[in-house]
Assembly symmetry: C2
Homo-oligomer: 433 residues x 2
């Protein structure tokens, strides 16, 4: 494999979703689902694509950071990068002057996520496999080589990671066959956006049941009576045998979160998501202790493996919600999946946005095939927006993700969409100005 | 007060300090001390200046974020902003689409720090007082109005803040007189940069003693034997009756930090600073427990009040090192100072860089005058670089900061320097290209 990365091209990609209140919640009122997008152009006729998800404003900052970080990939062979991905990741996240802006958080770390994911897309394409299969068939040592253990080795050493990855190898093919045949369980967030009317929520919940969904998520964090009434509407439609999750999107302080979670307990939520600040590890731990048996979930805004490590160490979460591109790409998520497995916490990825569903199906598949080796109590988020822009969009059947078969990370956006929704010049933005 | 902010002007200001290894440590090898700088232009003939400190690359990202956030100030009167600074801060940090890039961390939060500090500079100039005096003379309620208690009210309520601020009011004038007469104690970091030779360290330590310094900081995190030898050189020069602090700048993982801190205990350090990742609250708590009696310090990379809250709740630190512009300006630091006081942890601000000494002297003065009401076990960092570029630079006498008397936040850079070190066009950069 001597593919050379000749150029890293970037796109500021934005979809005007705020016009329809799509994606609205208690904190994010008017998102324009967007992405800082990059394309690794090579001398071999294949390209690596990657993106990091944003909400509109500030996508330009991530694109600019991506242009700078991209210089670390330009001129290098794919092999020289993937032979030591941990080193490549450290080169990006630890760059001497840039590191001050984080470290490993915010705009610069989001950009790392896009670039490293693009490397994985390119690698998988070069190998002719989807990312999930590339990972499933990789040796434990090779996977461990991808992980930067700095700052997490007090919870997970390289040796422990390899030990986890080596377990259950004899039944790997059975798991692959089952996964390809049945798909991976999912839940839908499409029914309960904050800006949707009660009629719309009722209709969408009813339609969801008809489509075979069994897990539904509702946005809360408004007026307490409203939250409860909307929850009961969903319960009327989905019954009590299906699962309802509630998501406050960081709306509350710790004491308010405890009071509100207790109130919402009568909805029998399968989990309470993001009750408070994503930085508040000890706060989540306290909420969890004081609201049992309600299960606590967070992670979509958790900015790196050091924070996930502590959420697990503090026993702050019942559900670990990884995000595919807030952290530094596949590599950092490998570390998080392994730490969660060690601490027996199920991983249920955050998705939606732009491309997040396309991404995370690979990570959950890897989790099932090589790490936790179970799909019990695990579901991937699903939101039915913007998939039409992808070359290889996710496929859902009766509430389950069907495994992608095309080589790569499923994240490539159609050329036509890249042009149309390029900001601010694309045609998709013409009517708004 | 009906001063109107007409325009927010920004400057990408960079000094080529990496040419002399100034500021080098175990992690930051070649910093070009820089700042994303802003000027609030008003209709009243006065300007508000503010900056956030950076290390070179990526200053442009902060400047761009600052340009965007500046729109929240343009066209508004100073009074409409300072009458509810907590709301203004929330408007910046919680801006719906931008918030996704943090929240409250990284590039966008650094930019908030510059802008909010510029408001304080303008406010103090309008009142004809230095910021420290403006704060010292402000009512407790008015100070509390500046603080966004979201996500910290489980540790510090508005009522508790007011209670702390109301204590010792009868002796305020005595403290002001003492502070103006004697100054605030400081320590020097100028002797022990990582890139300095042993001869240079020895010479600088000797000079420091001659200048009246009593507290010295040394950068560690290199080869263990080197660290120890360099520490003993400083001890030879300063003796054991003066204080030596060591600073690892986040170099180690938790277990390595414990081993290395125990080794360095023979230097009898007054504190061990940044032994590991700034995000690792539980890691710092464990290092502190396992390395007693060595005192643990961190905070310069702690990105917001939620993280400081947890460092205090977890009993992870003996010394709280606030930074003047990594968090969202004076307001957020008011919250941190009050939380530290409640938890009886002394605050010793991070400084150096560009303008950090100029900034933090005001915050420590306020801490002494209204919050902790003591200078015991408290020192402000001092580094003797780049002060010549400021209109009202810090004044040091025998190891103490003398209080600034000019109105404002002491952060205004000379017009000539703003032009000369504007990046990349300024003359100061001409010779490097």
């Amino acid at each position: 494999m001597d593919i050379r990365i000749e150029r890293v091209r970037t796109v500021d990609l934005r979809f005007p979703t705020s016009r329809e209140a799509i994606g609205s919640d208690a904190v994010n009122k008017n998102p324009d689902y967007s992405a800082a997008y990059c394309i690794l152009e090579t001398d071999a006729g294949i390209e690596g694509h990657g993106l990091t998800f944003t909400l509109g404003l500030g996508t330009d900052l991530c694109v600019q950071a991506l242009q700078h970080l991209g210089k670390h990939a330009e001129g290098r062979t794919l092999d020289s990068i993937v032979s030591d991905l941990a080193a490549f990741s450290r080169e990006l996240t630890g760059e001497s002057q840039y590191r001050w802006l984080g470290p490993e958080k915010g705009v610069t770390h989001l950009a790392c996520g896009a670039l490293i994911n693009a490397v994985w897309d390119l690698w998988a394409k070069a190998e002719g496999k989807p990312v999930w299969r590339l990972l499933a068939e990789m040796s434990a040592e090779r996977i461990a080589d991808c992980i930067d253990f700095q700052y997490i080795d007090d919870l997970l050493s390289r040796e422990e990671a390899i030990e986890i990855l080596c377990q259950g190898q004899e039944s790997l093919q059975e798991r692959i066959d089952l996964l390809v045949r049945q798909g991976y369980p999912a839940y839908t967030t499409s029914v309960g956006w904050f800006g949707y009317s009660e009629d719309k929520i009722r209709r969408l919940a009813r339609e969801g049941i008809a489509e075979g969904w069994t897990h539904f998520k509702l946005k809360v964090g408004g007026d307490p009576a409203d939250d409860l009434r909307r929850g009961l509407i969903v319960r009327e439609e989905i019954g009590w045998e299906n699962c309802l999750m509630v998501d406050a999107n960081q709306k509350w302080g710790v004491t308010e979160a405890i009071a509100r979670t207790r109130q919402l307990a009568q909805l029998q939520p399968w989990w309470m998501e993001e009750p408070t600040s994503p930085d508040d590890i000890l706060g989540h731990a306290r909420i969890r202790r004081e609201c049992k048996p309600v299960r606590i979930a967070t992670g979509e805004h958790c900015h790196n493996r050091v924070m996930f490590k502590q959420l697990l160490q503090a026993e702050a979460i019942d559900v670990c919600q990884i995000d595919s591109c807030r952290v530094a790409g596949v590599n950092e998520n490998l570390a998080i999946l392994l730490m969660a497995a060690k601490m027996s916490v199920p991983v249920c990825p955050h998705a939606g946005g732009v491309g997040l569903c396309e991404y995370v199906q690979h990570l959950s598949a890897f989790d099932y095939l090589r790490v936790s080796r179970t799909m019990q109590d695990r579901v991937i988020e699903y939101v039915d927006h913007l998939h039409e822009h992808f070359v290889d969009p996710v496929r859902i059947r009766r509430g389950r993700y069907l495994m992608p078969q095309a080589p790569g990370y499923s994240i490539q956006v159609k050329q036509d969409s890249l042009e149309r929704y390029s900001f601010p010049g694309g045609e998709g933005w013409a009517s708004s100005t």
